[in-house]
Symmetry: C2
Subunit: 432 residues, 2 copies
């Protein structure tokens, strides 16, 4: 890990730059998959499952028997852990349900918003090297709280044709309606267009490799909503002299083990702290099972010394990290200055893995600088807010003239007329 | 307007279909404009302004003098009307600012969300046949309430090189920072990439023709957020026997005058009402200045008779209209059944133009069926919600084991280790 000292602001735009993915080949490959699934339906899904995952299935939908069998294999310790996470994620996402007030903007003019669930949602759960059942919780729980009527899940299967037991267990626990055995771009295509056995959904959620991410882009162009644009996972840590070097090193490594494209950044106003953290990284790396991945990720990572914590936060805001850890004891001033981040972990005991699994916050977050404009997944992601308005006779009399004048200025006389007719009608009524 | 009687549900998917836009030519043309602006900056903007709007400018930014001069031309009656709208739009969008609670999901584990303004936003204001200054209010007011630091606006100019006075007046009233003289795809390109005189923004808002809509799609692919995917404007009215035929006809026409691609749908459970409304449409059309446009729009519109109001609402939910008017007196039951709509207007005195201008709700709404998944523009559109979490020593002790177990199941041992080190450290501390 290379240490950069007090970079000039003019150089920050280079330092916050994410790796650029060459997309043309990917674009064509995924476009073809989308088209095939649209035209050939199930047949195309089976074929791509065979081609990419080496699995030959005779049906896509997981049977109740498979689910029952999976449940029996889950150890009690794992069930208890999932229950802790389920409870906390439910509590936090439940708190995001807010009934908004009816606002009488002018006497007789009532306006309000109501959250209404998106009817059908599709959750994509990756299962490459490991089954990411935690993502089932993160997407399924808010979908259920929102009241989505149809929650379907898709996940790639191993050559044995089986979905990992922890995914099946978690899915039935939170009430997923259908589980499809399919992964990759073909799964997203299936949810986008529907097939003989797959129901088309209104919105697609979930992480995935670059094929999945590209397919979600195409899904969006086809009119299906998606949760977030994609990018590699990221962690930025701001550590001052009160940080604990071994904790900071462990947090950096927990991010680095995600994938070789993981982005890891350490900022500090304390050179001794930087040295201690780097020494700890070397020490801890030795015992990490995924050290080969972590090492490659660390090669792209950056350590930057700034003379003040304010500059650290300013740089972090410019970078807009997915995860931001404030490894410090006095954090109040810093927290107020954060303007761009997906999720912020405050103090020495708030490790990123807490939020990844069990504290209650969502782990589906904006990457790639999108934290400047996008929020992470929340209850909001599973609803739309419909506005309502009800004008009484008094209401239209109070604002009618303003509408007439504005519509006239915009030369939309039909708009004006809709008001004029009502005002005249009310005048007639009064003169009766 | 053709009347359809009690269509079978199997035919609904045909009836709710929107017009399909052939995109390939558009795609290439807009791609070229985006590329030119990216490479040549201001020069390309000036060239496209000359080519498409027939205007030769020597600077893109509106000067303070131009704004001062414009303000002097605004009649007091228009100023007063704008003030009514400004007050109501402010009140409704202000009410959307909600400070969310801190949730202690487990003892020692605090989670919360904070709304933080998107730093810089660009507002696109069309000004073809008429200056849409109302859209300046609808986008600018929530941007200002949210606390966006930089609010820029762009709008096409007439051959005289002038921005319509009502747009300049409204922009200064709500505190827009910079106004650029540019429209079309080149304007969106300018906001996406930035040029010598144009500042790149984080998110682009506003309606526009198909060039603008396509350019916003490209902007999104380039990493700039946008408000909503685009489509022609729509109105669906559900009218029962208590509706007022002349009001319903006026509302249909107010939508039809928007453009030849406007979508207008009337549903009713009363055949006499349908006949009366259609007779009124013919009568009112005669006096409408934009009758040529409205006539063409009406040719594509649909009138559907259902035997029950419940079926009307069910069909409306399938269509997912941008605007939905419930032209009836007893509406409570119907309101509860609405699941897909952008904005709903309840009762005989809530005309769409009220929401278009002055009631307080936003008029930037999801079209083209996107109301199934997207909300209209609101305060939410100008912020992102950052999650925060703070775990005390007690907090990590309470949920630490759950995290360890789950991380182990997902084979992410670095994630586990970040917790284990902290738990061990706390145990050492206690044993001291």
């Amino acid at each position: 890990m290379k240490i950069i000292e007090q970079p000039l602001k003019s150089n920050w735009s280079n330092l916050v730059r994410r790796p650029i993915i060459k997309e043309e080949k990917l674009d064509n490959a995924v476009r073809q998959i989308m088209l095939d699934v649209k035209q050939k339906g199930d047949l195309a899904i089976f074929q791509y499952n065979a081609k990419f995952d080496g699995v030959n299935l005779d049906r896509l939908i997981v049977s109740p028997k498979e689910i029952e069998a999976a449940i029996l294999t889950i150890p009690n310790q794992l069930k208890a852990a999932i229950e802790v996470a389920r409870k906390n994620i439910t509590a936090f996402h439940q708190s995001q349900h807010i009934v908004e007030p009816i606002v009488e903007t002018t006497k007789g003019v009532k306006c309000w918003r109501k959250s209404v669930a998106i009817e059908s949602v599709g959750l994509y759960i990756p299962a490459g090297t490991a089954p990411l059942f935690s993502t089932v919780l993160m997407l399924g729980i808010p979908a259920k709280i929102a009241g989505c009527k149809k929650i379907v899940l898709c996940t790639p299967v191993s050559k044995s044709g089986k979905v990992p037991a922890s995914i099946l267990y978690t899915a039935q626990l939170i009430g997923v309606d259908i589980i499809y055995k399919m992964g990759g771009a073909q799964a997203i295509a299936g949810l986008t267009y529907g097939t003989e056995s797959i129901q088309k959904v209104d919105k697609i959620f979930g992480p995935g490799n670059q094929f999945v991410a590209k397919a979600k882009e195409f899904a969006q162009q086809a009119g299906i909503a998606i949760d977030l644009p994609a990018g590699p996972s990221e962690l930025l840590i701001i550590a001052d002299q009160t940080a604990v070097p071994e904790f900071v090193a462990a947090d950096l490594l927990s991010q680095a083990e995600h994938g070789v494209d993981s982005q890891v950044i350490l900022l500090s106003n304390d050179k001794v702290m930087i040295e201690k953290v780097l020494a700890e990284v070397v020490k801890q790396l030795v015992d990490l099972p995924r050290q080969a991945i972590a090492k490659l990720a660390l090669e792209n990572s950056k350590v930057i010394f700034f003379s003040t914590l304010e500059d650290c936060v300013l740089f972090s805001n410019t970078y807009a990290p997915e995860h931001l850890i404030l490894a410090a004891t006095q954090t109040e001033n810093l927290v107020d200055k954060i303007t761009n981040a997906g999720s912020v972990f405050i103090g020495n005991y708030s490790c990123e893995s807490a939020g990844d699994y069990a504290s209650g916050t969502n782990h589906t977050l904006p990457t790639n600088g999108f934290a400047k404009t996008y929020s992470g997944v929340s209850l909001d992601s599973f609803v739309k807010k419909i506005t309502f308005q009800e004008l009484s006779k008094e209401g239209i009399k109070n604002i009618g003239e303003a509408i007439e004048v504005m519509a006239t200025e915009e030369k939309l006389y039909g708009h004006k007329n809709a008001v004029t007719l009502r005002l005249n009608n009310l005048e007639d009524e009064e003169n009766k």
